[in-house]
């Protein structure tokens, strides 16, 4: 697609959509490679958002208190805050970042994933609000059998 076509396409779709949806997928591994190699949660959050100032409210996070199998720990999290991105970190593995969601207008920011943790630790969920502030929830849990060794 050449530039002229791309422009008219963009303008056309902007005019069509009442809320202009960003249809382009964002790969945060390519956009922010340093997030994924950071060894601490603070460093990972700083590399992603440029700040570590977290407001601990408005984010729901549910995990078991004791994970029987560290290879697949269910983590449920959601927020009603109008969000730009939602990200998950933990401090039990060599690196911290687990997942980053780029929130689009259809995304209700209500998720459930299964993660690996090699030992007991703390899971941090960060919601980057459209207001530019960082909201978070933290939960510590015990891990009976580590998930990164098997």
């Amino acid at each position: 697609m050449d530039r002229r076509h791309f422009l008219s396409f963009t303008l056309g779709s902007l005019a069509l959509a009442a809320i202009p949806a960003d249809v382009k997928a964002k790969d945060f591994r390519k956009l922010k490679p340093s997030v994924w190699t950071a060894h601490t949660v603070d460093d990972a959050i700083k590399n992603l958002y440029g700040s570590t100032k977290l407001i601990e409210k408005g984010v729901k996070l549910k995990t078991p208190d004791v994970a029987a199998n560290g290879g697949a720990i269910p983590v449920d999290f959601s927020t009603k805050i109008a969000a730009k991105t939602v990200s998950v970190f933990q401090d039990a593995n060599p690196e911290s970042a687990v997942i980053v969601y780029d929130v689009n207008p259809y995304d209700m920011t209500d998720y459930s994933i299964k993660i690996k943790m090699g030992k007991p630790g703390t899971i941090t969920v960060v919601v980057e609000g459209k207001d530019g502030k960082l909201y978070a929830a933290k939960k510590s849990l015990d891990v009976a059998k580590g998930g990164c060794e098997g």
Binding site: G71, Q90, V98, I99, D102, D107, K116
Partner: protein, 102 residues
């Protein structure tokens, strides 16, 4: 990739599973002696009728054969529309799957 989507009261509930080993650097090092053999899904996207509805950048710390559940606003979509999902891993391999909204 398995995709299940259910529309109810304007909300699409999605359950999706990718078949992948999600091998971490430590696991690879233990197995082959080379941590560069690590391979895991790095990016997953999903769309309905050409519109991106989910976009996830992922790391090696998702479980093996990772499951993703999420909710979407369903006002613009109807039963029978297809949710198409695809992933790419560290080695550049791709996978995809789709499911009709029920």
């Amino acid at each position: 990739m398995k995709v299940k989507a259910k529309l109810k009261n304007g909300v699409i509930k999605v359950k999706s599973m990718a078949k992948h080993g999600m091998v971490t650097y430590n696991q690879a090092k233990k197995k082959t002696g080379n941590s560069e053999d690590a391979n895991f899904i790095t990016h997953i996207t999903g769309s309905i009728n050409g519109k991106t509805v989910i976009d996830m950048s992922t790391s090696q710390f998702l479980s093996k054969n990772p499951i993703f559940k999420f909710k979407l606003k369903g006002d613009e979509f109807k039963k029978g529309d297809k949710l198409k999902m695809s992933w790419v891993d560290r080695k550049g391999k791709t996978g995809k799957g789709s499911g009709k909204i029920k």
